[in-house]
């Protein structure tokens, strides 16, 4: 492209005829290509071609004027997860709706092994088994109630929502933590000697 055929017509000149000095018309393209790639790199870095990935969440519909909240979830399908400080996670089966029977609070983490994920998978299997046994109807879905404590971080909440996607939990909700739950955490912390 940037060079021209300078080899002449191809007819032979006699031995006495001096050859005209051939000037090369080749242009060194390297700097231009360098510059080209530099600019490409610049535009690739600054471009926002990759749109940010998002997570869509639907909060449960709540009418502020509607005081009565129908509690349709069965105790046996529910798993309550409390998010606490330092990425600690507490969970218990059911929803602790019966004040006379305090739930058995267990502590865990977001670790891939023996963390909250394994508990969710185990609970899901249990609900599926109950469905097969006929104790629960096909309509009953495993439900996870996520209650982030005021000391928890936003990252924990997203982690927990992500676990819902990872484990294909269809019904889950983010709920405000109650004093009762906060007390459970406190008691467990005291029992385990966590400050």
């Amino acid at each position: 492209m940037a060079e021209m055929d300078t080899s002449g017509g191809g007819h032979k000149k006699g031995p006495g005829v001096k050859k005209g000095k051939k000037l090369s018309t080749r242009i060194d393209l390297t700097p231009m290509v360098d510059l080209g790639f530099l600019l490409i790199t610049f535009f690739m870095y600054t471009t926002t071609l990759a749109k940010p990935k998002t997570m869509e969440i639907n909060m449960p519909y709540k009418d502020p004027n509607d005081k009565v909240e129908p509690n349709k979830i069965k105790e046996s399908v529910a798993l309550t997860v409390l998010l606490s400080k330092n990425h600690r996670v507490y969970y218990y089966e059911g929803m602790a709706s019966d004040p006379t029977k305090p739930p058995d609070l267990k502590a865990t983490t977001f670790a891939a092994k023996n963390g909250i994920r394994d508990e969710i998978i185990a609970k899901k299997k249990m609900v599926d088994d109950l469905k097969r046994a006929g104790t629960l109807t096909a309509k009953d879905e495993m439900t996870v109630l996520i209650k982030p404590d005021t000391t928890s971080s936003y990252g924990d909440m997203v982690n927990m929502l992500d676990e819902m996607n990872i484990n294909d939990i269809k019904v889950y909700a983010i709920i405000d933590i109650t004093d009762v739950d906060q007390n459970f955490i406190k008691e467990t912390e005291v029992a385990n000697g966590v400050k």
Binding site: G36, I40, L49, K51, K53, T54, I57, Y154, D162, I166
Partner: protein
């Protein structure tokens, strides 16, 4: 050499035409990771609520006419007495983290001063109750929603931000009966042996 040169410049042209510069971000936010790979639908106007690690809230809209209308509405609603020039400064600016009380002074300042102000900003005051008098975030959301009822609300919060700071936003949105919104997250791989992993691989196998 020629061919490579051609390709390089073709790519260069493509990137030059396709590029849209990232709007300057007031604060550095490292979003938490998730496996969700939904992208914000193309062409949607976004109301971006940024929350940094300290819990300060910044509001940004990526559409100039929307910003123009929002600032006019906020100005008349809250009686901020902004001049036309100050409003234009707002429209040209990418994001806002200044409370109403300091907004006029901020918009009057020089660009360098504004940058400093933005970094030291207190963030938009918010509250869990929509109608709380100090819930200025609610005012911004209301103005944005009135301008464009289809505006998509995205929350871009730092993973280290405390939950209550994000909860304020969620509660305010709920107060306006907005129950569907997006959380901006980084992409991470799906862990093997989980339901989502099996799902993704089933879809791959079908292809």
């Amino acid at each position: 050499m020629t061919a490579m040169c051609d390709v390089a410049f073709l790519l260069l042209t493509f990137f030059m035409l396709a590029t849209k510069f990232k709007p300057p971000e007031p604060v550095v936010v490292s979003t938490p990771k998730s496996i969700s790979d939904i992208t914000v639908p193309h062409g949607d106007i976004i109301l971006l609520l940024t929350v940094d690690a300290k819990g300060r809230i910044y509001v940004a809209m990526d559409d100039r006419p929307t910003r123009q209308s929002v600032i006019e509405m906020v100005n008349s609603d809250k009686d901020l007495q902004l001049t036309k020039g100050e409003m234009n400064t707002f429209v040209a600016d990418a994001s806002e983290g200044i409370p109403f009380s300091a907004l006029k002074a901020y918009l009057d300042a020089t660009p360098d001063q504004q940058k400093m102000d933005e970094v030291n900003a207190a963030g938009i005051p918010a509250d869990t109750a929509v109608l709380a008098p100090n819930n200025e975030l609610a005012e911004w959301i209301k103005a944005a929603r009135t301008t464009n009822s289809k505006i998509r609300i995205c929350i871009k919060a730092d993973g280290a931000a405390s939950y209550p700071s994000v909860q304020k936003i969620i509660k305010t949105l709920e107060g306006y009966k907005i129950f569907k919104f997006n959380l901006i997250t980084d992409l991470k791989g799906i862990p093997a042996g989980t339901a989502a992993y099996d799902d993704a691989h089933k879809a791959d196998a079908k292809k």
